[in-house]
Symmetry: C2
Subunit: 157 residues, 2 copies
């Protein structure tokens, strides 16, 4: 039979569900939620305050209090008073937290590679290039510098 033909929107949307499903599944294996993965992802290259975390995660500061408290209780992050501002608290990953995000990240990347491996090399490169162009164009449109690590998504996960 001629194989199922998907519309533009469906093809891209369903691919996004496959990718996000892989991320959720890998996070779940380590009993992490998506937001916890994002938190630990941010802490790979930053030492943000609670307030900065709220901005980066697009959450209310009270939500971040709970999020960080639960991560701290699990030994994944630590809180310390900011030396620069007596009101602020700086959040850092513990070695266990670093290990966990690394583990999720590696397994997730392998999942995405496996999805892309459905295509021959040349097509895979084409897909990457096309996806990249959309992502870069959209980043420009939103005024975000992808390389600055401004968001937890700069390195995807």
């Amino acid at each position: 039979m001629a194989h199922a033909q998907l519309s533009d929107v469906d093809a891209v949307t369903q691919l996004s569900f496959l990718v996000q499903g892989a991320l959720l599944a890998r996070a779940d294996e380590d009993e992490l939620s998506l937001v916890q993965v994002r938190l630990l992802g941010i802490l790979r290259d930053r030492r943000p305050t609670m307030n900065e975390l709220a901005t980066l995660l697009e959450l209310d500061k009270s939500s971040v209090t709970g999020l960080v408290a639960r991560a701290e209780r699990r030994g994944l992050v630590s809180r310390s008073p900011s030396p620069r501002d007596g009101r602020s608290t700086v959040v850092a990953p513990t070695s266990a937290g670093r290990r966990l995000i690394r583990s999720v990240s590696v397994r997730f990347a392998a999942d995405v590679e496996a999805l892309l491996a459905e295509l021959p090399d040349r097509d895979r490169r084409a897909l990457t290039s096309l996806a990249s162009r959309i992502v870069v164009a959209e980043a420009h449109r939103r005024g975000v510098d992808l390389l600055a690590g401004t968001t937890s998504r700069a390195r995807s996960v």
Copy 2:
């Protein structure tokens, strides 16, 4: 400058975040969660029992009880006893529920079209075709028939 070059994994992953972000944003505009969107999406072409919903949504049946109860309280779905099995409950969308999922769906599709519009026609078609091949291949691998509407994702949203 030469524009940022993303790795295979990052390009596809970040595209998936853009798509899912659009879906979340559109759902949120109508005060729907992702799971509520999935629920209403399923009810577009089915009249499942609570138990079938649990399977389709990959949730525990007790979670579905609460999910459907909240949707019912909002007037989006209705429950009625199954005529075929005295133990079962059949769930159906109300006209308000149908209207809502249609609205989210249309606006989300426009968002994805807008993302794809970053590319010239020929490239857009190439991306769709490549994404489609991965989705179809993966569906086969998982033994799912995309056209049967087996999941709420068959029509993406």
